[in-house]
Structure formats: structure tokens, C-alpha cells
């Protein structure tokens, strides 16, 4: 049971960590000062949420586990984030597209998790939901600006959505940990979020004059630790310091 709960927490928290890391890569490289700050703000929100989840997971695990060992010292297969969040910052449209698709899912998830039978998870969700509501607002706004902007921004935004679409279905797959936690009213049944997700996403895309992709085959694997080729590079950046100077502090 504890093991399932820990794995369930990873399934939620690793999304926030990995997306936070991706956004962190953009620090100092945003298209302008204001957008740069906005996206690093979101990265910090996500890292803050990650810390709360990992501190809880570390307590459940015992054995000298800390939030840092969980974040920095696991192997690639042990990260349970969805493939969507590890996709690279190909250009600003990809960063916004990835953010938007994740934000819409993230908000639906946290609204349900706030009613979890696990008090700690419910408390973290209640605190995070306010942050994520703003994330949805920010990324939806940019989807509309780029989609309904110039010819070039429209094409770039459409390409990003088309490519990232293949990673949306995985958001609604259940892992063994998911099933175990749903049966105890601790976890959220993600299969039930699917319809609301596609309704909301389609609404924003249509307002942005973008096509909703029609895809039959989707990518999956991240939730079970089978990641895309981008993940190794991301982890190399993320873990470098702790691997090179073990137990380093500042």
C-alpha cells in the first residue's frame, strides 16, 4: 500500500519537476523580459509543488530518503512523468503548446485531488490549484495570441499542437499505482478527466483559429518509466551537480 502511494505521488510530482526543469532552461532566454519572468514564475510554482510532494514521499519511504535524493538520485526508469512534459523547447510555440496541454490536464487533476481521502495530498492540491489556474490563463492566452496572430505565428503554433498532440492520450492512462489509489479514494481516476480535457482544449484551439488534430495513434510510456530520447539529456542537466559532488549543499 505505502509503495503504491509513493509511486502514485511520483506520478504526479515528477510531471511538475520535469516541466519545471524544462521551463528553467528558458530562464534568460524568453522572447522578452516580461514573458521570461512569467515562465520562470511558473517553473518556480511547479518546483514548489514538487517539493511538497517529495517531502511527503520521503517521509513515507523512510530509510534516509529526502526530497533531494528523490529529485536527483533516481535513474531514468524510476521517473514516472508523462512523455508530454519532457518534450524539448523547440521554439516558443512548442513551449507554450506543451504548457497549455499540460495545464488544462493539471487543473482538472488537482481539482479532483483536492477531495482526496489522503489529507496531505488534498492539502497540497488545494494550495496548488490557485497557481495552476493562473498557468491555464497564461498559456491559453498565448495559444490564442499565436494562433490568431500573424500567418507565421499561426503556422508555428499549429505545428507545435500537431506534434504534441500524440502525447495527450497518455495523460488519461492508469498505472497500477493509479488503480490501487483510486480504489481507496486517495487517487484521481484520470480516465474520467479525458472528456473535459478535450472539450476545454478544443474550445481554446477553435478560438485561436487552430485545427484540433485528428489522430488515431498516440505515444505512451513515461508513466511506466519508459521515456523518450530527450529524457536522458534532461536528467544529465538536472542531476549533474549531485552526481559530481555527492551531498553538496549551498
Amino acid at each position: 500500500m505505502e509503495q503504491h502511494l509513493v509511486q502514485y505521488i511520483y506520478g504526479i510530482a515528477d510531471n511538475a519537476l520535469i516541466l519545471g526543469q524544462r521551463l528553467g532552461e528558458l530562464c534568460g532566454h524568453g522572447p522578452n523580459l516580461e514573458t521570461d519572468i512569467a515562465m520562470t514564475n511558473i517553473a518556480l510554482d511547479l518546483l514548489g509543488q514538487t517539493r511538497s510532494y517529495y517531502q511527503y514521499a520521503a517521509k513515507l519511504q523512510g530509510e534516509n530518503a529526502t526530497e533531494d535524493t528523490i529529485a536527483f538520485l533516481r535513474s531514468e526508469r524510476e521517473y514516472k512523468n508523462v512523455l508530454l512534459v519532457e518534450q524539448p523547447n523547440t521554439d516558443f510555440a512548442y513551449s507554450i503548446g506543451r504548457q497549455f496541454l499540460f495545464d488544462v490536464f493539471h487543473l482538472l487533476l488537482l481539482e479532483e485531488l483536492a477531495a482526496s481521502a489522503d489529507e496531505t495530498l488534498a492539502a497540497i492540491a488545494k494550495k496548488s490549484v490557485k497557481e495552476v489556474r493562473y498557468h491555464v490563463r497564461f498559456s491559453s492566452d498565448w495559444i490564442k495570441r499565436l494562433g490568431d496572430g500573424t500567418d507565421e505565428s499561426h503556422i508555428k503554433m499549429q505545428n507545435a499542437i500537431n506534434d504534441l498532440w500524440a502525447y495527450t492520450d497518455e495523460l488519461f492512462h492508469q498505472t497500477d499505482a493509479d488503480k490501487a489509489m483510486v480504489s481507496q479514494n486517495i487517487g484521481v481516476d484520470v480516465t474520467k478527466l479525458k472528456e473535459a480535457f478535450y472539450v476545454k482544449v478544443s474550445e481554446v484551439l477553435e478560438e485561436a483559429t487552430l485545427q484540433v488534430p485528428d489522430l488515431k495513434y498516440f505515444q505512451k510510456g513515461g508513466k511506466n518509466g519508459v521515456h523518450s530520447e530527450h529524457m536522458g539529456y534532461l536528467l544529465a542537466d538536472l542531476q549533474y551537480m549531485q552526481r559530481t559532488f555527492p551531498n553538496m549543499n549551498w
Binding site: 522572447p31 522578452n32 523580459l33 516580461e34 514573458t35 519572468i37 512569467a38 514564475n41 490563463r137 497564461f138 492566452d141 495570441r145
Partner: protein, 93 residues
């Protein structure tokens, strides 16, 4: 993006106080200006309300005119309400 207009940002730090000018940002329209102001100027709990105003809508006095505009007030101390006793409860006067 280089052509985004400039906006002046005013933040109310808590209810009951007035909005104060705190800086400026670039944005393509009012909605984006509010969001940018939120992200740039309220990250450390500085505010409970934001106003944004297009900088070009502000009419400013000319620094060259400051002699005629402001100097005449210098020797009129009687205009300051320094002869009233204010109750301690009255803050922010």
C-alpha cells in the same frame, strides 16, 4: 515585439491604501499588460490590485516649466496643515 507599447503600472499594496506607480512594462494590449504587470511586479506579495495605463495617455508637465509651476509654493508654509493635532489612530496621512 519591439513595437509593443509601453504601459505604466500602479499597484495597491493593501486595501484602504491608494494605488502607487511602481514601474512600466511592454505589452501588446491591456490584457497582456495586466498579466505582465502581475508577473513582474507582484511576485513578492506586493499587491492586492493592479492598474495599467498606456504610457502615451499620460500628459506630463514639462521640466523646463518647473520654476513657474512649483517654486512659488516654496515660501507659503501657511498652506501646510501643520497646526492640527492628528489622532494616533489616523495612519497614512
Amino acid at each position: 515585439m519591439k513595437n509593443w507599447p509601453l504601459w505604466e503600472v500602479f499597484i495597491r499594496s493593501k486595501n484602504g491604501l491608494e494605488h502607487r506607480h511602481c514601474g512600466s512594462i511592454h505589452a501588446s494590449d491591456a490584457t497582456m499588460a495586466l498579466e505582465n504587470a502581475r508577473d513582474v511586479y507582484t511576485r513578492r506579495m506586493e499587491g492586492v490590485s493592479i492598474w495599467v495605463v498606456p504610457s502615451k495617455e499620460i500628459t506630463a508637465s514639462n521640466p523646463d516649466d518647473s520654476a513657474e509651476l512649483f517654486d512659488p509654493a516654496k515660501d507659503k508654509a501657511y498652506r501646510h496643515p501643520t497646526f492640527y493635532e492628528l489622532p494616533d489612530e489616523l495612519k497614512h496621512m
